[in-house]
C-alpha cells in the first residue's frame, strides 16, 4: 500500500520538497508517527514535535521553514485538507455492511424494517420494533420491544436500545451504549428501598452520536431527551428525565443527575457533574471536573466544585495554590502586630510618665 510523495503530490495538487520517490504507507500524528508514516505539521506551535518526530515525511504549508527538518516535505496550499485527502487514500473507511438480515440474527416477525437495513449476526430485534431505511445494526446489538430507530443510523456491536425508546435519523451509537435502562429511583420506607417503576422512555434526536459505554436512562414517566445534533463522549451518564438541548457536547465521564435540564449548545466538560432538578442555560460551559449545584445562566462558563463563574473560580484556584504564602503573610502580620503592640505599650507607658504631674 506504500505510495510515493510524487503520487501524493499529484493527488493533492501540492509540490514535493526533497525526495519525491520517498514512500509512505500510513498517516499519523507527529508525536506517535513511525518510519513509513506521513505526518501533518501545519501548526507552528508543534515545532518541537517536528524536530523529533519519527515520521518519514511531512505535509506542510507554504510558510513552513524547510530548514527545521531534513525530512522530505509535501508543500500544500491547504495542508490540513491535503492531509485529510491523503488519509482517506491511505486509511480507507471500512466498506459498509451488506444490506440484509444475517441468518444468525433473531428478528421478530412483526419488526418493521426499512429498505436497505443491515442487521449483523447475533443481533436481536424484538417484537414491534421499527428500524428505518439504510440503518446498520452491527453484530451483537439489541433493539427492544416497540423501540424505533430512524433512518441511516449506525449501531456498533454490543449496543442496547431498550423497549419503547426512540432514536432519530443518522444517529451513531458506539459499542456498549445503553439507551433506556431504568432510572435510579426508590422510595425508602423503614430503611428498605422500594423500586419506583420507570415507565417512561428515552428519545434521542437526529444526528446524535454517543460514545462507547455511555448510558442514557429512561424517564420515570414521560421521556429523557437528548436533542438533535448533540454529541456525547464515552462513559457519560445521563440520568432519568434529563433533557439535553440541541447541539450540546457532553465530554467523557461527565454525569447529569435526574431531571437536569440543559439548553442548546451547552458543553459539559470531562468528569464534571450536574446535580438534578436544575437548569444549565443555552451556550453555557461547565468546566472539567466541575460540580454544578445551582442553575447556570445562558452563556455562563463555570468551574469548580461547587461550580462558580470561571473567572472567580480561577482566581480562587490560584489562591488555593498560594495558601502557604497567605499563611506566611498572616504569620508575618501577626508578628508585626505583636511587635507594634509592644512598642505602643512602651510609648503609652512613656507618655503616661511624661504626662504625670512633675
Amino acid at each position: 500500500m506504500a505510495v510515493t510523495l510524487a503520487q501524493l503530490a499529484e493527488l493533492t495538487g501540492s509540490t514535493v520538497r526533497g525526495d519525491a520517490a520517498a514512500e509512505v504507507a500510513g498517516v499519523a500524528a507527529l508525536h506517535n508517527a513511525r518510519p513509513g508514516d506521513l505526518a501533518l505539521a501545519a501548526d507552528p506551535r508543534y515545532a518541537a514535535l517536528v524536530a523529533r518526530t519519527a515520521a518519514s515525511a511531512l505535509v506542510v504549508g507554504a510558510a513552513f521553514d524547510a530548514s527545521a527538518t531534513p525530512l522530505p516535505l509535501l508543500v500544500a496550499a491547504e495542508p490540513v485538507a491535503a492531509f485529510e485527502r491523503i488519509a482517506e487514500r491511505l486509511c480507507p473507511a471500512s466498506p459498509a455492511p451488506e444490506p440484509g438480515i444475517h441468518p444468525a440474527a433473531v428478528v421478530a416477525p412483526d419488526a418493521d424494517l426499512g429498505p436497505g437495513v443491515s442487521i449483523g449476526p447475533h443481533c436481536v430485534v424484538e417484537a414491534g420494533a421499527a428500524i428505518g431505511a439504510g440503518t446498520v445494526l452491527r453484530p451483537l446489538t439489541f433493539v427492544g420491544r416497540d423501540a424505533r430507530i430512524g433512518r441511516d443510523c449506525l449501531l456498533h456491536p454490543l449496543v442496547a436500545v431498550l423497549d419503547r425508546c426512540l432514536v432519530g435519523d443518522r444517529v451513531v451509537l458506539h459499542s456498549g451504549v445503553v439507551i433506556g435502562a431504568d432510572g435510579y429511583g426508590y422510595e425508602t420506607r423503614d430503611g428498605v428501598h422500594h423500586k419506583l417503576p420507570q415507565r417512561g422512555i428515552v428519545e434521542i434526536g437526529d444526528d446524535v452520536e454517543i460514545g462507547a459505554n455511555s448510558t442514557v436512562d429512561r424517564a420515570r414517566f414521560g421521556r429523557t431527551v437528548v436533542g438533535a445534533g448533540t454529541k456525547i463522549d464515552n462513559l457519560v451518564m445521563v440520568a432519568h428525565n434529563v433533557v439535553v438541548g440541541e447541539h450540546s457536547l457532553l465530554v467523557a465521564q461527565c454525569g447529569l443527575a435526574g431531571s437536569a435540564v440543559l439548553g442548546h449548545h451547552v458543553t459539559v466538560a470531562a468528569q464534571a457533574g450536574v446535580i438534578g432538578h436544575i437548569e444549565v442555560g443555552d451556550g453555557a460551559i461547565v468546566g472539567a471536573q466541575a460540580g454544578v449545584l445551582r442553575s447556570v445562566p445562558p452563556g455562563q462558563v463555570v468551574l469548580g466544585s461547587p461550580a462558580q463563574e470561571i473567572g472567580k473560580e480561577r482566581h480562587c484556584l490560584v489562591l488555593h495554590q498560594k495558601l502557604p504564602e497567605l499563611l506566611q503573610r498572616i504569620r508575618q502580620l501577626t508578628r508585626a502586630v505583636a511587635e507594634l503592640s509592644e512598642k505602643v505599650v512602651r510609648l503609652e507607658a512613656r507618655a503616661t510618665e511624661h504626662s504625670e504631674p512633675h
Copy 2:
C-alpha cells in the same frame, strides 16, 4: 390510546375541574411534557414549571390554586398515587417474556434451570451454572461456569455474570453490568507488573439492583460482597474484596477501591471515591465528588477531597470561594500595619527627642 379526563377521574376517584372531555395520551414531568401529556403538579415548589408546562392537563391536590393555570385539572385526594395509577394505565409495563429457552440460546446441558426460567436469544449459560425459578435472562446475556443466579431475577440484555459468582433472589442487573471481572492486583518486580491470580468470587445479596455498565470485581480470595437491598446506579466501580452492607446506595459513577468496607444504609453520592482498606460506618453519607481517605464513623456525613465532616467542609468551601476577599483583607491589613509602623517609628523618634536630656 387517548383517554378523557372523565375516564381518568373514574379510574382514580378524583374530580375534574375544567373540560372533562379533554383527552390525554401519556404522562410526563412538568418540565418536558408535550401537548397530549398529563403531568403531576403535587409540589407547590414547582409553581414556575406549572406556569410554562406544555402539558394538556394536570393532576393536582385539593390545595392547588386553580387560578395558577388555564389547564383542565384532575383534583385528587392523593395526587401522587392517582398519577401513578394513571401512569400504569397509560404506560403499561412490557409483558414478561415467555418462560423457556430460546432456540438461539446456548445453555450447557448440565446447567440447573428452575421452573419458569426464561432465557432469551443469544444468551450463553455455561456448565454448572444454576438459575433460579422465574428468573429472566434477556437476550445476549452471559452466565459463566458454576455461577448461581437466584429466583425471580431480571438480567437485562448484554449482562455478564462470570464464573462462580453468586447472585441472590429478585436481583435486577441492567445492560452492560459486569459481575466478577478480575480484581486489579499486580505484584511489581523490576518494573514489570505480574498479575496476582484473582480466585475469589462476587456475592450479590437479595433484592439488589445494579445500573447500566457498572462493574463489581471478583475478590482476590474469598468474596466481594454487595449486601441485600443495596441499590447501585450506572457506571459505578466496586473493586475486589469490597464489602457493601445491606440497603446501601451507590450513586452514579462513584467508585470503591479494593477492600473498602461499607456498613448498611450507607450512601455514596455521585462521582465520589472511597480509598481501599478503610471502613464507612452504618448510615454514613459520602457527598458527591468526595474523596474519602480515612474511615468514616457511623452516621457521619462527609464531603470534599480529602473528605471531612460536611459542616466543616461546607465552611471551607464557602471560604474557598471567598479567598479573593481574604487576600484583600490581608492586603489591607498589611497596608494598615505598615502605616501604623511608620507612625509608631515617628512617635518613638519624637519620644526619644523629648526624653533626651535638655
Copy 3:
C-alpha cells in the same frame, strides 16, 4: 471440598498450632471471612481485624502472637506464599476452554486463526481478522474486520475489538472493554458539530490487561497506543491519539484526553483526569481525583485539580481545611490593628499636645 489444617500444613510445609483436625473449605480476607474460611494474618497492622474475624483458622508467620486469637493457626515461614498455595488448592482456576470454534460462533471464512484458538458461542469474527495461537475468545465477543489479536490472549465475554485494531500477545481484555470506538472529534460550523472521520486504529502492546467496561478510542489518523505491560483498571477512558508508555498503571475511572502522551511506568490513580496534548513523563504519578492541566516532568508526583507537585498540594489541602482558622486569625488581626490604630491616634494626639509650644 473441606480439608483439615493438618493436610494444609503438609501441603505448605508449615506447622499447626491448635486443632489440626479443624476443617476449612475456602479462603477469604480477614474482614469478610465466614466460618469455614481460612484467612491470612501476615500483617501486624491487621491486629484489630484478627480480633473480630469470623474465619475458622488463620495462616500466620513465626512472629505472630498466638495469644491474640483462640483460632487454630497454620504457622508458616512465608505466610503469603503458603496462603497463595492453599488458595490455589481451594479455589482452582476455571478450566481453560476447549480449542475450536463453537458452532454458534460466526467466523468469516477468510479469518486467519492460529492453532489452538478457542472461539466461544455467539462470537463474531469479521473478514480479514487474525487471531493468534492459543488465544481464547469467550462467548459474545466481537472482533472486527481486519483486526489482529496476538497469541495467548484472553478476551472475556462481551468484548469488542473494532475494525483494524491491533492487540499484542498475552493481552487480557475484560468484559465490556471497547477497543477502537471512534474518537470524539467534531468541527463546529454555524453551531453544528460535523464529525471528523476517525480513520486511525488502536494498538495494544503485549502483556496489557484492560479492566471491565474501559474504552480505548481509535486515532483520528495513525494510532492510539497502549504500551506493553501496561495495566488498565475498570471504567477507564483513553481518548483518541493518546500514547501510553510501557508498564504504566491507569486506575479505575481515570481518563486521558485526546493526544495526551504518557511515558513508561506512569501511574494515573483513580478518578483522575489528564487533559489532551500534554506529556506525563516516565515514572510520574498522578494522584487520585487529580486534574492534570500541564505536562508533568518525569518522576514527579502530582495531586489536586489543577494538579501541582504533591508536597505543595498537600500543604494547600491542609490549609484548605484550616480556612476557618485562617479567617479567625485575620479577624483577630483586624481587631488588633484597629485597637492599635486607636491607641496610636491617641498617642499622636498627646504627642501633638506636648510638642505644642507652651
